[in-house]
């Protein structure tokens, strides 16, 4: 398959992740959809790396994965902390920062 197909898949996955971030109310699922978006980006990176034939894209994909792991760690830590304080696990309810 030409690289274009992979890029198409990447675009679709990215948009699906975006829909999920906007639509879901459970912060856990929002984080999952965020992972989707990151994965979409990763796929594009790997595809381009294959296209050019050097490993830059793959290295970047590894770094992205690292960052995603860190972010998940922190995000889930926050959700646990929320749960511990008996706060609602609902992004709509958590809106103290409003104007």
């Amino acid at each position: 398959m030409s690289i274009a197909w992979y890029l198409a898949v990447s675009a679709i996955v990215f948009s699906l992740g975006a829909i999920g971030v906007i639509t879901r109310r459970n912060p856990l699922v929002v984080l999952l959809c965020l992972e989707l978006m990151l994965n979409g980006g990763n796929l594009a990176l790997i595809a381009f790396s294959r296209m050019w034939g050097n490993g830059d894209g793959q290295i970047l994909a590894i770094v992205v994965m690292t960052v995603a792991a860190c972010e998940v760690c922190i995000g889930l830590g926050m959700i646990v902390a929320l749960y511990r304080r008996h706060l609602p696990i609902d992004v709509d309810e958590l809106r103290e920062l409003q104007g």
Binding site: I59, A69, I74
Partner: protein, 209 residues
């Protein structure tokens, strides 16, 4: 052959993604993501990124998703209907859902146009040539060499970032006052009488008796 594999993997990827977005039970959503990740690893393999594919399975699907499973289990089953109720009851939530769908649809169209409509001739190709060997494109040796030469700074910074994230995670999720929390809940369940003292439930572990 590789085309068939590509399509199977692509379908897996997209259905996993759809599942994450659509499934109401967060546990099922996590499982859908795991499926998505494994299919993505197959796609990576098709693109000759062996090491990255392995990393994807071991780290991403292996460690990160396990973490997710733990937290979902802990937080509980907060099944909620999809996308309603932003603020006041009414049609605002569905408005957001609709708006979000439209926006994301616009986004995907744009991205497709951008990616596929460029004059980049190589997209229609199958990529640069591939010569198998011990340090061929995509092998661990190849990646390792890159990491330790050209991308040394990124490597080191990423490891530092992991350290910070670990510390942050501990700080966020720790108990504040030890096992004896000053909580108002003094309800004693009959099961408490039967529970052995040394072992504890998760609730006890976080200070809730």
């Amino acid at each position: 052959m590789s085309q068939v594999l590509f399509f199977i993997a692509a379908i897996g990827v997209i259905s996993g993604a759809v599942g994450v977005v659509m499934l109401r039970n967060p546990f099922y959503a996590v499982l859908a993501l795991v499926a998505h990740l494994l299919s993505l690893a197959v796609l990576f393999l098709l693109l000759r990124a062996e090491f990255v594919a392995a990393i994807q399975v071991v780290i991403y699907a292996g460690a990160v998703m396990v973490l997710y499973v733990f937290v979902v289990a802990y937080v509980g089953d907060q099944t909620q209907p999809l996308g309603e109720r932003i603020g006041a009851p009414g049609a605002v939530g569905s408005r957001l859902r609709l708006g979000g769908l439209i926006l994301a649809g616009a986004l995907v169209v744009e991205l497709l146009i951008a990616l596929l409509g460029t004059g980049l001739a190589a997209i229609d190709g199958k990529g640069a040539g591939y010569t198998p060997g011990p340090e061929a494109f995509g092998t661990p040796a190849y990646i390792g060499k890159l990491l330790l030469t050209r991308f040394l700074l990124a490597f080191e910074v990423a490891s530092f970032l992991l350290l910070i994230a670990a510390v942050g995670g501990v700080v966020l999720a720790r108990r504040r006052h030890g096992l004896d929390e000053q909580e108002e809940e003094d309800l004693l369940v009959p099961m408490d009488l039967l529970r052995p003292g040394s072992a504890g439930t998760m609730a006890e572990g976080v200070g809730r008796r």
